[in-house]
Symmetry: C2
Subunit: 320 residues, 2 copies
């Protein structure tokens, strides 16, 4: 399965969270025609820190697609400095969440514009453009959406669980505060109803932490279910492990086997296909809705190759 | 007139704005007994910028007394870096007001704690202590106080006039939004009613921009008028010019001669003495409420010498 040489026509929508998902978004951005890729990003991880509105997933996607991401950490910006954090520490401020000197600028400009009444969608568009990103990066909603983790230590806001407690507490459940009233934006709706929509790609982000908060936003799940284009997810699990982050630990704590079947079952009828890694070829043999491809995405070539494969699969489904 | 060797006993309260006033506050901090100096600072210049609560005068005083001020600019911190501002500029944020990477930390910690319900007084105390300041630095009020400049270009918030427009517009008047409801803090009131209060010093700050907003806070003027200790102001004018800032230009625009008589008349009965520079010895000869001393305060020795002179004058008045 390669499809590597097939030209990609039509528009493509990707849904993604932070680091893992952003890799495939980067691959897609190199394959989809200019102006035709829309990346819808989770805002459930957003929070106010040191007075500023921080949008970790949006910024990771923007930096990654701008070629400005920190290759070592996966989050934050390349060539970052930390004098702000050192000064925060000196005067007794909170240091459990690190904001680099230049990363901070993104949050500060965003905060100032939000206070000025601008929409997160417009602010994100302007920042992405200024950094040279050629595709649309859309927050799933302009409204408040906050992932809360129900743990053995009580309810923790996402960043307190993820960064503050390093995913140590046992996860008992998740809830998405604000999802009941948050609405998708006109831009998100327009992307999903584009007449030339060729594929919806759910990136290999954590389904529970990065994709579910988006699906909880009023109407998004129904809209995805009704798109005519194929919906293809790439699994974040490889051979029973998560490449990054707490997914495998969390699935075990939630009583789910860390398998491709669990991921497929989680997305259910929402997706047409689940792309799994070559290491899980056995699972594919047992399920007609799975396809195999190298999902580890080493280097830019690996990201582009996976993007091409996913879009070729979509083209195949679209033609069927 | 020197009084340089006189030991200073009792507590001292200084009122000051930013750069000019902070110099004398620094001198006082080297002369007044440990724990006996309280510096009450203007908050009329405070504003929200890039999402953060910036308190320029408080920070200038804190940095100056901590030995961390930028000797070249007079504002901001020594050994500052500017990566944040460069990143703000790159994404189209506001750059007319500069916040260094480490200076920013002060505003961020302050903002986060204000959002958390802490008082500006307590936040300022903690930051000053963390930076090694040994005296009390008190915002004149914990309530909103905003200096607005009535200019030929309309009403400008102070920083827009001062930094944004570099004091170019003609000043027609000043108003202090919030002063009608802002209250002095318990800490300010306690300092001014201390049984051992030996002197109140009005530092050589701009009377219109730095001292008047404080005097406009409900009750402060009356409380100052009723202290038993001598109240001594140091003039910010030297030989018809302001050492720094827009004072002389502003006085001319407001129709006031740029003279020591104008400064004395402005403070009126509030002060017992006005200390003027040696260059204005002539004015002193004409007015029994003026005294002469070197007010330019070159180097730390100049600051300490002026502090000693002012306190000796107060001691002389107190004994009379």
């Amino acid at each position: 399965m390669s499809g590597a040489s097939a030209p990609v026509t039509g528009s493509v929508v990707a849904l993604c969270g932070g680091i893992g998902g952003a890799k495939l978004a980067l691959g897609l951005s190199r394959v989809v025609a200019p102006g035709k890729l829309t990346v819808i990003v989770n805002t459930g991880d957003d929070f106010v820190h040191l007075g500023l509105h921080v949008s970790p997933d949006i910024d990771t996607v923007v930096y990654t697609l701008a070629g400005r991401s920190n290759a070592e950490t996966g989050w934050g910006r390349a060539q970052e400095s930390w004098r702000f954090m050192e000064a925060v520490a000196e005067i007794g401020g909170e240091t459990w969440f690190s904001l680099g000197d230049t990363d901070l600028a993104t949050s500060a400009v965003r905060t100032a514009r939000l206070q000025n009444g601008d929409r997160l969608t417009v602010i994100t568009r302007d920042i992405a453009r200024a950094l040279g990103v050629g595709c649309a990066i859309l927050p799933v909603t302009d409204d408040a959406l906050r992932t809360m983790v129900e743990t053995s230590e009580g309810i923790l806001p996402f960043q307190r669980y993820f960064v503050g407690r390093k995913c140590q507490p046992e996860v008992k459940g998740l809830r998405f505060d604000g999802a009941g009233v948050a609405r998708t934006t006109a831009e998100v709706r327009a992307a999903l109803t584009a007449p030339d929509l060729a594929a919806v790609v759910i990136c290999p982000s954590n389904p529970y932490l990065s994709i579910d908060p988006m699906l909880a936003v009023a109407g998004l799940r129904e809209r995805l279910a009704s798109v005519r284009a194929p919906v293809i997810a790439v699994s974040p699990i490889v051979a029973g492990r998560a490449l990054k982050g707490p997914l495998a630990k969390m699935m075990a704590e939630l009583g789910k086997p860390v398998t491709q079947d669990s991921i497929l079952s989680h997305y259910g009828d929402l997706i047409d296909l689940l792309v799994v890694d070559e290491a899980d070829r056995d699972a594919v043999a047992r399920n007609s809705r799975m396809r195999v491809a190298p999902t580890v995405m080493t280097g830019i070539d690996g990201k582009i190759a996976l993007a091409r494969t996913v879009l070729a699969l979509a083209a195949g489904l679209g033609r069927s």
